[in-house]
């Protein structure tokens, strides 16, 4: 994930992922678990490069669930959910954003390390980095 400079706009390569919620009983589930948040300890995050990164990460994917079907991977950092920014959210706020009862579908913008590598190799080193 790109280095985060406070006060500077954040640049990242993201992938758009759309997950349809599955109804189980009276709950709508997405089939993955999140960790992180600005109120959590970032040093515990096994997926982040920068151990000061307090973003929301995907920590587990239920195999065969909606998130798995939509190609969400473990270790993804969620940047946006349905247009709402997730980089400066508390853990509980993030959870609430994802589990709105009125929404059937969540559109996530996620970023992962392999995306950057893929872009770099495909662009051949001309990718503008800040």
């Amino acid at each position: 994930m790109s280095n985060f400079m406070p006060g500077q706009p954040l640049v990242a390569v993201v992938q758009r992922i759309e997950i349809k919620k599955l109804r189980q009983g009276e709950n709508l589930i997405l089939g993955f678990s999140i960790g992180g948040g600005i109120d959590q300890d970032p040093g515990q995050n096994p997926f982040s490069d920068d151990k000061a990164d307090k973003g929301i990460y995907v920590t587990r994917i239920t195999p065969g669930g909606p998130a798995d079907a939509a190609n969400l991977r473990m270790g993804d950092k969620i940047m946006q959910v349905n247009g709402y920014d997730m980089t400066m959210m508390t853990h509980d706020q993030a959870r609430k954003r994802l589990t709105q009862k009125k929404e059937d579908v969540v559109r996530l913008l996620v970023t992962r390390k392999s995306l950057e590598e893929a872009v770099k190799t495909s662009m051949g080193g001309c990718y503008p980095r800040q």
Binding site: G36, T59, R60
Partner: protein, 525 residues
């Protein structure tokens, strides 16, 4: 009704019967009849022979004193544990119970005292007899003997002092059987001293032994042995039972007051004595008036059914059948006695609280009327109305008047009126005034039932009966049950051993106290 006679010493007024003069007159006339008509009239008053004590004071002519003298029955001098004043024969039996024979108490200690004195005198006799009888033929014995004399003297002094400290204490109880350890020790001392005398008689007196140093050494060894016997006595009588080994649960049969005590290895009778000491301290006074449900509630159940015999001649068969059908029918009937009991309880509690509030206010106001008189030398200013200086007794009597009525009503509400006569209240008031107590400290005696010891006349002894299935000199064991009985209640004691404690160890290095923020919480969505 049978059970009325036990509680007949009290008069309790229900909420219906206020203390109006008309009602009191009616009650006076129906005094004997009201015992039976408990269904319609809840107040029961029995004239008791103990009352004439108060009549002298009740002739003051005040309203409240008439009230006081009529409805309060006072317990004087007999055992306060069972309060029934109407039966004179019972009172005399009570007197017998509470003052045991004075002589028997001192028999055991007297015997021990004689033996002890004999044992103490023996070494001196050992030393003195050769000097008196055959002084001329004795070998002179210089410094070693004098050293032995000194050690002998000091040992005897120590023996004397410790005997006084340990054994010459007035006994607190007479036990039903022999106190085994004490008998053992007395026998040991007797045997010891007797054998020493035997040896002395045969080996020293007969042949007129001339080696005086040996005789002095012999006497010194006797004193040493006596000191060791005293050590044994100390351990057996005083020290062995200090380590707690059993837990005794004591339950009073009449009102269920219970306590748990830890004791060591004792025989049943010794444990009983120790327990009774604690009983007088810890258990609140047994008040028979506080116990039962009001008669109106209980009697309704019984009078609801009448069973008729329809021609059957077999009477024995029918009586059991009759009672069984009555009980079955009574249990099937939807009875509301529990709601009545609940409301009655709530009513009583409310009344007690109201009277307590009045009492507290009255006492506080009364206490503001007096203050301690400070001696002013030379008179700062001549007072306009010179205040009369009173001693505590007069001050108490002066401020008792405004609070008397509230006090009387409160005592009657809590059924304590038999424990506190007017005289005792004034005495207590005088005591509190003398010691600068606040009204709250004065009221402490009346607001909560104190330990039994507080109400006791300590000049008399108390008679208790130890009821046990095993011999009372046997040691305490797990699962034993024995009871201590008095005339109208008993204490049931159950013995359980204290658990064996297996204490382990865990060492925590102080540097190991470290903290981290909580793990990243993972929420599944």
């Amino acid at each position: 009704m049978d059970n009325e006679s036990t509680y007949s010493g009290y008069s309790y007024k229900s909420s219906q019967s206020r203390s109006s003069r008309k009602h009191r007159d009616r009650r006076d006339r129906h005094r004997s009849k009201s015992r039976d008509s408990s269904i319609r009239d809840k107040s029961v008053t029995i004239q008791a022979p103990g009352e004439p004590l108060l009549d002298a004071e009740s002739t003051r002519g005040d309203d409240r004193d008439d009230n006081w003298g009529e409805t309060t029955t006072v317990v004087t001098g007999t055992s306060v544990d069972s309060v029934s004043n109407e039966d004179l024969t019972r009172m005399s039996k009570d007197l017998e119970d509470s003052s045991p024979l004075q002589c028997r108490r001192f028999l055991g200690p007297a015997l021990g005292g004689v033996l002890g004195l004999f044992a103490l005198v023996t070494p001196l006799a050992f030393l003195a007899l050769p000097q008196l009888l055959w002084r001329d033929t004795l070998e002179p014995c210089g410094t070693p003997c004098e050293g032995l004399y000194i050690s002998l003297a000091f040992k005897l002094l120590i023996l004397l002092i410790s005997t006084w400290a340990l054994f010459l204490r007035p006994p607190r109880a007479t036990l039903p059987r022999f106190f085994i350890f004490r008998c053992l020790l007395l026998a040991l001392v007797f045997l010891f001293v007797a054998s020493y005398w035997l040896f002395y008689g045969v080996r020293v007196l007969e042949p007129r032994e001339t080696d005086y140093r040996g005789i002095v050494g012999y006497a010194a060894s006797l004193v040493d042995a006596l000191l060791f016997i005293q050590y044994l006595a100390l351990v057996l009588l005083e020290v062995r039972h200090l380590q707690p080994a059993f837990c005794l649960k004591v339950v009073r049969t009449t009102d269920g007051a219970s306590r748990f005590y830890n004791v060591g290895h004792l025989s049943i009778q010794r444990a009983a004595v120790w327990l009774l000491d604690q009983y007088y301290n810890d258990f609140p006074i047994y008040n028979p008036a506080l116990l039962n449900l009001p008669k109106s509630i209980l009697s309704k159940k019984m009078s609801a059914f009448k069973v008729y015999n329809l021609g059957e001649e077999n009477s024995t068969n029918n009586s059991t059948g009759q009672s069984r059908t009555m009980i079955a029918a009574a249990s099937r009937k939807r009875d509301n006695s529990h709601t009545e009991y609940y409301y009655e309880e709530a009513e009583v509690e409310r009344r007690v609280r109201k009277r307590k509030a009045r009492l507290v206010v009255a006492v506080e106001e009364a206490f503001t009327h007096i203050k301690r008189h400070q001696d002013e030398e030379g008179g700062v200013s001549s007072p306009k109305h010179p205040r009369e200086v009173m001693d505590p007794r007069e001050a108490a009597q002066a401020i008792f008047a405004p609070m008397a009525r509230a006090m009387q009503k409160y005592l009657r509400a809590t059924r304590q009126q038999s424990y506190h006569s007017m005289e005792s209240i004034i005495n207590h008031l005088q005591f509190c005034i003398t010691h600068n107590m606040t009204p709250k400290a004065f009221l402490e005696l009346y607001l909560s039932p104190g330990p039994t010891l507080q109400y006791l006349d300590t000049s008399r002894g108390r008679q208790w009966t130890l009821v046990s299935e095993e011999p009372v000199t046997s040691a305490l064991r797990q699962g034993q049950v024995f009871s201590l009985r008095r005339l109208d209640f008993s204490l049931v004691v159950t013995v359980t051993p204290l658990p064996f404690l297996n204490l382990g160890e865990e060492f925590i290095d102080p540097k190991r106290h470290k903290f981290v923020m909580k793990m990243q919480s993972e929420t599944s969505v």
